[in-house]
C-alpha cells in the first residue's frame, strides 16, 4: 500500500505548515485528492490518522475533496474525463498510473486525435488545501 507513503508526505507537510502558522493544534486539514491516482481512501485515511498520532495533527478533522480528473489534449484541444478512458485500462496499467500518474501517456491517447500529448488538467495527485 503505497498510500502510506503519500499519507506520510501529507502529515509531514501539514505539520510544517501548522508550525509556520503557529498552530498548537490542528482542527481541520482539507485535502484535495485527484482521481487519476485512484487512491484507496480507506487505507489513506487510516494511514494519515496512524501517522498523526502523537503530533499536533492527532484528532484533527480530515476533509477530503475528490477531484474528477480532466485531460486536455495539447495537440487538438479536446478535453475529456479520465474516467472515459479508465474503463479500457488493464489492472496492470491502472496500477502503473496509480504509482506514477504521468505514465498515463503510455496507456491513454486522446479519444479525438489519438495523440498521447495531452495534460492532466485537473485531478492529478494529493494536495493540501487548507489547514486550521
Amino acid at each position: 500500500m503505497h498510500e502510506w507513503a503519500l499519507a506520510e508526505a501529507v502529515v509531514n507537510s501539514a505539520i510544517k505548515m501548522a508550525q509556520e502558522k503557529k498552530l498548537s493544534q490542528v482542527r481541520i486539514l482539507s485535502l484535495k485528492v485527484g482521481e487519476v491516482q485512484q487512491i484507496d481512501m480507506e487505507v489513506f485515511d487510516y494511514a494519515i490518522k496512524e501517522i498523526s498520532k502523537g503530533t499536533i495533527l492527532e484528532n484533527s478533522e480530515i476533509k477530503y475533496t475528490i477531484f474528477p480528473a480532466k485531460l486536455l489534449c495539447n495537440n487538438c484541444g479536446n478535453e475529456w474525463s479520465y474516467m472515459e478512458s479508465f474503463e479500457s485500462l488493464t489492472e496492470e496499467e491502472r496500477e502503473a498510473i496509480h504509482f506514477i500518474p504521468e505514465t498515463i501517456h503510455v496507456y491513454i491517447k486522446c479519444p479525438k486525435c489519438k495523440s498521447p500529448d495531452f495534460e492532466i488538467k485537473e485531478g492529478r495527485g494529493v494536495f493540501i488545501e487548507e489547514i486550521t
Binding site: 500500500m1 503505497h2 502510506w4 507513503a5 503519500l6 506520510e8 508526505a9 501529507v10 509531514n12 507537510s13 501539514a14 510544517k16 505548515m17 484535495k32 495539447n74 496492470e92 502503473a96 504509482f99 506514477i100 500518474p101 504521468e102 505514465t103 501517456h105 503510455v106 498521447p116 500529448d117 495534460e119 492532466i120 492529478r124 495527485g125 494529493v126 494536495f127 493540501i128 488545501e129
Partner: protein, 211 residues
C-alpha cells in the same frame, strides 16, 4: 494556498543516504548510463551500500546494463527499490512496460517528484543518479529539490561532445554546485585535449576509460 506535500517528504526519504551523486554530461551518448551502472557495481563490490536511480525518463538504459528488467519494486509503505545483486535499483521502466513514454517538461517534474516521494531507499552509502542529456527539468529539479547533491561529469574526447559538456560544467560552476570531477570515456587514441579543458574549467580530471 494549495500545497504539494511531496516536496517536503523528499529530505526524509533521503535522510539515510550519505552521498548523492548525479552522473551528468549535458551531451547524450557519452556513457552516462554505462558509467552509472559500472560505478554502482564497483562501489557495491567495495562493500558500500549502493542505490542506482535511472532518471532518464525518455531513454532509460541502466536496466539493460544491469539486466534488471524482469523484477518489480514491492509495495511496502511506499515502493521498495528492486534488489539487483545487492544494488537497490529504481527506474521508470517498472511503470511503462518499457513502452514509449512521451511527456512535456512540467510532467517530467511531476514524475521525478513522485518517484522521490514514494521510493523508500534503505540506508545507503551512495545513491547514484543516472541523468538524461540536456539541461532542462531533470537537472533543474534535482538541483532544486535534492540537498547535498554532487556531480560527476562525463564526456568523450571529441570537440563536439565537449562543446556541450562545457556548457553543463560552466552552469554548475557559476551556480556553485559541487563537481567531484570529470571522466573521459571512450578514449580511443592519445591526446590531452580533455585534460587541458579540465584545467581551463577548473574541474578535477578523474581519469579515462578506454573505448
Amino acid at each position: 494556498m494549495i500545497h504539494d506535500p511531496r516536496t517536503s517528504i523528499i529530505d526524509k526519504r533521503l535522510e539515510n543516504v550519505k552521498n548523492i551523486i548525479a552522473i551528468g554530461s549535458g551531451k547524450g551518448g557519452v556513457g552516462k548510463s554505462t558509467f552509472s551502472s559500472l560505478l554502482s557495481l564497483f562501489l557495491n563490490k567495495k562493500g558500500y551500500k549502493v542505490g542506482l536511480l535511472d532518471l532518464d525518463i525518455y531513454g532509460p538504459s541502466t536496466h539493460l546494463i544491469l539486466n534488471a528488467e524482469d523484477k518489480t519494486p514491492q509495495e511496502e509503505y511506499g515502493l521498495k527499490p528492486v534488489d539487483i545483486n545487492g544494488i537497490e535499483f529504481m527506474s521508470i521502466i517498472y511503470f511503462t512496460q518499457n513502452k514509449p513514454l512521451i511527456m512535456r517538461g512540467k510532467e517530467l517534474t511531476d514524475t521525478i517528484l513522485e518517484i522521490f516521494a514514494i521510493t523508500r531507499w534503505n540506508n545507503l552509502d551512495y545513491l547514484i543518479i543516472d541523468m538524461p542529456p540536456g539541461m532542462g527539468e531533470v537537472l533543474l529539479d534535482l538541483i532544486k529539490f535534492i540537498k547535498n547533491l554532487q556531480f560527476i561529469v562525463i564526456t568523450n574526447p571529441t570537440k563536439i561532445a565537449m562543446e556541450t559538456v562545457e556548457k553543463l560544467i560552466r552552469f554548475l560552476k557559476e551556480s556553485n554546485y559541487p563537481i567531484l570531477g570529470l571522466v573521459e570515456n571512450m578514449k580511443n587514441k592519445d591526446g590531452t585535449f580533455v585534460k587541458e579543458k579540465c584545467k581551463e574549467l577548473n574541474v578535477k580530471y578523474l581519469g579515462h576509460i578506454s573505448f
